[in-house]
């Protein structure tokens, strides 16, 4: 029982990670692959934030009458990672738009064949 209480957070993270991973390798559509990549990315965020949590702790902003704070370091890493994540997602989406323009499709198996013609 205590195993479940101690680890369920990490297990859900692994599940989300694998859902994202599956979308990345199994989906044919490039936009869907990018959504999968984002799901994977968010699962990593949740993993970090879970590790920073202290039971009975509070948000790391000094306030009266609070003695335990959660670990602020993972928060810093993930805060910047989210903004960088959306910026890199934008680059990925821009690449998809260019692929659509060059090949006329965003389905992976369709433009793979066209590659040999060029």
């Amino acid at each position: 029982m205590s195993v479940i209480v101690d680890y369920y957070n990490y297990w859900v993270v692994v599940f989300l990670m694998m859902a994202g991973f599956y979308t990345v390798i199994a989906a044919n559509n490039l936009v869907k692959k990018i959504v999968g990549l984002n799901i994977f990315q968010t699962s990593v965020f949740i993993l970090y934030i879970s590790m920073g949590k202290v039971s009975g702790g509070s948000a790391p902003i000094v306030a009266e009458g609070i003695t335990t704070y959660s670990n602020p370091l993972p928060h810093v890493l993930i805060l910047t990672a989210i903004v960088v994540g959306v910026a890199t997602t934008a680059v990925g989406l821009a690449l998809v738009v260019r692929i659509k323009r060059a090949y006329g499709t965003v389905e992976e198996n369709e433009f793979k064949d066209k590659d040999d013609l060029i």
């Binding site: 694998m18 559509n29 920073g52 202290v54 989210i82």
Partner: protein, 325 residues
């Protein structure tokens, strides 16, 4: 109680992820991704990471959905059924997942204060940063001061990503002959948007300068301010928006933000400290720290605002051009 809420939220998150994997309508996938972002922000609040939740809220609701919808309007809505074999990917995923779950059993238990992560630098940040930096928000202290060099790198990455998108898609050309666009028939929408856009910009400024005391800071403020202009462009049309905030100006602003950040570092360099060591910026070290943090947060805010908005302009101009032809 917090554990129960956490469990319910995680459960909903898992269901949403499954929906994203199995739905074929890409529009629905993007919509569900919006819900996914809401849920992860709620989980961050529940796990005490308010600053992270703030960022996820601003980014998820304001930017990423808009960008994905812009891409969909260019690439098409429906995912084609594939003759792909799904068995092999499933096998790979299940194996990897099983290995990872086996791996988690060696991790220290969730939330235990004795965990190794909490024994190292975190103690110093929690105990000393309010005195050393003088700010109640430890996340801002660590972000802008202790790990300032890291954040400079992140800002540069956002800047580089904006350059990448612009070189792939190109900035919109300023058409003087404004094309009729926008949600012309939605009168109520236009009136409410006029009321709400100034409020969003005002709130962005509050987040920018209140980030030292509560949740918030340059990253969030930049995204929120960009979201205000995005709302303007969506309701009144892109040509009007590019006249208000010109794409050329954004290019200059994006560079200016990074320069302001790096310049603060160089200034502290010349005043006799280390790179990004704000203690020397004023006579009193704590005042110097505060000045330095305000400056670099401003730099971050300007760069993020300009980068996010020019990325949006690039996508939106492609979408409008395609639909007008």
């Amino acid at each position: 109680m917090a554990e129960l809420i956490n469990l319910l939220l995680l459960g909903m998150l898992a269901v949403t992820a499954l929906g994203v994997v199995f739905l074929k309508d890409l529009f629905a996938v993007v919509m569900l991704f919006g819900i996914y972002s809401f849920l992860s922000a709620l989980i961050f609040v529940n796990l005490d990471a308010v600053d992270v939740a703030f960022t996820e809220a601003a980014v998820g609701a304001g930017i990423s959905t808009v960008l994905m919808l812009g891409t969909l309007s260019l690439t098409g809505r429906q995912e084609k059924m594939s003759g792909h074999k799904t068995l092999l990917p499933l096998l790979v995923v299940v194996t990897t997942g099983a290995a990872l779950i086996y791996g988690t059993l060696d991790m220290p238990p969730f939330g235990n204060p004795e965990n190794p992560v909490h024994q190292h630098v975190a103690l110093r940040y929690i105990q000393d940063s309010p005195q050393e930096i003088g700010l109640p928000n430890m996340v801002t202290s660590v972000l802008a001061s202790y790990r300032g060099f890291d954040t400079l790198g992140e800002t540069a990455v956002v800047f580089a990503a904006a350059i990448g998108v612009l070189s792939l898609l190109g900035l919109p050309k300023q058409d003087r002959a404004a094309i009729e666009s926008g949600l012309e028939s939605h009168l109520v929408l236009k009136v409410v948007a006029k009321i709400i856009i100034p409020l969003i910009i005002l709130f962005a400024l509050y987040v920018q300068f209140h980030g030292d005391y509560g949740p918030g800071g340059g990253f969030q403020a930049g995204v929120i301010a960009a979201a205000a202009i995005i709302l303007y462009a969506l309701v009144f049309g892109l040509p009007l928006a590019t006249q208000v905030v010109q794409p050329g100006l954004l290019k200059a602003l994006a560079a200016l933000g990074v320069l302001l950040y790096a310049g603060t570092g160089v200034a502290s360099f010349f005043l006799g400290g280390n790179f990004l060591d704000y203690n020397v910026l004023a006579a009193d070290p704590v005042a110097g720290q505060h000045l330095g943090i305000i400056l670099i947060e401003l730099g971050v805010g300007i760069t993020v605002f300009a980068a996010m908005l020019s990325i949006f302009y690039a996508f939106a101009s492609k979408a409008e051009r395609k639909n007008i032809q």
